[in-house]
Point group: C2
Chain length 468, copies 2
């Protein structure tokens, strides 16, 4: 395997270029150096908690069960459907797009070699009904992912497709079309799986949803679509090494955490993640959950008011140069822009020469699209830097399973280190409870009658004048 | 046609509920009332400029040419490919997803009835090469969209696919596979079309890219995929009426503009657009360009420093409740959240009852997914409001061409009115020039030698210590 070769691994190292963070509205090297001791302590704190956190150990797991499952079911299945939401969907989608590209599902089966992947991550009725109309259920497998089995969106989709399967294949064949990913010991989904005798994959109890892409959550659908999950984990192990460097100014995860933290403290509440590759578009979406849910917190670890959290913005280069870059250039100095640059695309796509007399077109001929998009990334980074808008660039040597796994781990480590700098708990999400309780109340779930009455009273008090 | 019935139109009116904008960290009714005279003046100013702006007149155009073109080519074409970027892509994608749904391209031809739609809006080499590998060029038509014919990404893709077409169908048959949308009088693309004798659709010169969804830019691909473009424009005409109401507190476009403006002035630089429907996901992306590029400006109309512009964030409900809502609840009070609620989905998707003894699952049975997602939207709005995070809700009676066209026009009017409130030019984008010039320089285009040298000197000065 190529990832067993140290020289190859070193060639696939993701680098972080922060030169453009320095300037009038950005940071100074002195500021970074002044905070370096705190960042060093944060690295040490995260390293110490590795076993406790769980996700840092995921690169060491045995992935044979996923590979065996995929090999066993590959030929009988045309579409593998993930029913999951948030951390049980974003990583799956990110892996899929990054490794198999945006057209995978549109390719004919013989070109794909593996089943299509659909991730149904919403309780939108039209999404679920539309998928049902399209699917041949006899050739479909559903992977239901929920740690607790109480995730309303996922369980609603599960009940919906379960009933359709009963009609299409019969109740006694459900086990051929449903596989569960859930807590190994407790929860409703575990109970259901035991009762039905379905195949189940364990979700490590310590690992929270947004850190779970390298668990059974992400690995099963990756294996089912032909992704090299061993290389993915090898990349994650390599990223873990980089993120363990005790010198925060030589450690990309720590340096990224420190820069984001200082930018937030200096009045920049927005962080843009802008990869220059369609294949990495959904990685930005995965990052947005990781960063927002981990660091958006009302109180610090002592329970004192904090109200911190950068708002992540997903963008795509070069596309969003024609949408968002006007704002990034001329708008408030309230952002840190994270680019992802790619040094070598899998294809170059040469631009042929034509219309040689039309200079506004002909200058493109002879170049490749790879050169064009790389020039655009550099051009935009320079323009922003010269406009006083700080930015940093994550440089991917290539997009492959190794660099993807590496980036996952680097960003997870960056998030944990940033949590230390903010002194908040980066691993809970207490803020989503209120909305869940309101939903239960509105749906008439038992035990939520009081809240239901409060919501009704609230609705009474609304002023129709303010509905226009 | 149903949209000719006034009662039906009234039933399809999009409402804006702003009750949840009031509260500790939001606005007060008094603040809105105090600024109402300025907002009224802004409405009047936009109304006065209707002809000058161009896009307010688009609902009145004759769409017969688009329908005729679509009818003529529908059967010989399997895939209609848009080559455009920014304003020449985002509206096309938004219409497609909203009307035809997220699975349209995956359906068999006989179910679709119309060609697939691909929008290639990037100079990513893998995106373009991947599409080329997948397409049967003999059954493909390319719609090249660029006002000037100098858009580098679009022209590169055009040259790339033009050459492939020469090889696949021959140079003398290119006209059967290429249709241009460009300026009626000038520009490289117009010159090319004239030279080649290809079909061309005119882009109204006054209408800027981000306001062009209802021009030939958006209408041709919509017609080619079976969208009812007459109903789309009827909806836009209806939205134009609503936005002409001189009372800003009864005019949803003006009220939306005023609330966003005041929130920005009160320290909320972020605006979230969060539809609760997968079909409206790409409408949020369309809005993000409109809002960011129009209002992100360094100077006001007198040339004085302004540095304004909210950063739009695209989210999707209920999905992003499991990704972003933790931050919206507990993070800084720096956001205004815009929900889009849907009163009636095209399908309800009933949730069957099963596992009656497992209360954490069984409470869902008997409800529909439509009820679930609607409860989630309300639950989240209430939770945010109670947490002091202001939010407003655009209420779509249904998702159809009429409400979509209506929303496009309402948001365009809201943007123009907000431009008046900020006293900035909402219709230019001077900030993107610097990046374009850098790209030309990096690609070695003639006339940019000096800039190229400056960039090279800059690269020399970078410190490798800050690449980690």
């Amino acid at each position: 395997m190529r990832y067993e070769d140290a020289a190859w691994r070193e060639k696939q190292r993701i680098r972080l270029d922060v030169n453009n963070v320095f300037g009038t509205h950005g940071l100074t090297p002195a500021e970074l150096e002044a905070e370096a001791p705190r960042a060093a302590a944060a690295i040490a704190a995260v390293q110490e908690r590795r076993a406790d956190l769980g996700w840092p150990l995921l690169p060491d797991q045995d992935v044979t069960p996923f590979e065996q499952f995929a090999a066993a079911h590959r030929d009988r299945i045309d579409t593998f459907v993930v029913l999951g939401i948030g951390g049980s969907a974003l990583g799956n989608i990110a892996v899929q797009t990054a490794i198999n590209g945006p057209f995978y599902n549109l390719l004919p089966r013989e070109q794909r070699g593996w089943p299509r992947l659909l991730v149904l991550d919403n309780s939108d009725p039209e999404l679920n009904a539309g998928a049902l109309r399209m699917l041949d259920l006899r050739r479909t497998m559903f992977n239901v992912i929920s740690k607790s089995g109480t995730t309303a969106e996922t369980m609603a989709s599960f009940l919906y497709f379960r009933q359709a399967l009963v009609e299409a294949v019969g109740e006694d064949r459900l086990g051929d079309h449903i596989v569960l990913t859930t807590d190994p010991n407790s929860g409703f989904l575990r109970q259901i799986g035991q009762r039905e005798g379905w195949t189940m994959f364990d979700l490590p109890p310590k690992v929270g949803g947004r850190f779970s892409v390298l668990t059974s959550v992400g690995l099963l659908s990756a294996a089912m679509t032909g992704v090299n999950i061993r290389e993915l984990l090898a990349g994650a192990a390599y990223g873990r090494e980089l993120a363990a460097n005790p010198d925060p100014l030589r450690n990309p995860a720590a340096l990224g955490a420190l820069i984001n933290y200082l930018c937030f403290r200096k009045g920049k509440p927005i962080v843009v993640m802008m990869p220059y590759a369609n294949r990495l578009r959904d990685v930005a979406d995965w990052f947005a959950q990781l960063w927002a849910e981990s660091l958006g917190k009302a109180v610090d670890r002592q329970g004192k008011p904090a109200r911190v959290g950068q708002t992540p913005v997903k963008a795509l280069g070069a596309t969003d140069q024609h949408s968002q870059v006007q704002l990034y250039m001329e708008g408030p100095y309230d952002k840190l822009i994270n680019f992802i640059a790619v040094e070598q695309y899998a294809e170059t796509a040469p631009i042929p020469t034509a219309y040689a007399d039309l200079e506004g077109v002909s200058y493109l001929g002879g170049h490749t699209m790879a050169e064009l998009i790389q020039a655009e990334q550099q051009a935009t980074a320079i323009a922003l830097s010269e406009a006083g808008q700080p930015n940093i660039t994550h440089i991917f040597p290539e997009i492959n399973a190794f660099t993807l796994g590496q980036f996952f781990m680097l960003m997870e480590m960056q998030t944990a280190i940033a949590g230390e700098l903010y002194d908040i708990n980066a691993f809970d999400q207490p803020g989503v409870e209120a909305g869940k309780i309101n939903t239960y109340a509105l749906l008439g779930r038992r035990g939520f009658e009081e809240r239901r009455a409060a919501i009704a009273a609230r609705a009474q008090a609304l002023d129709s004048r303010w509905v226009v």
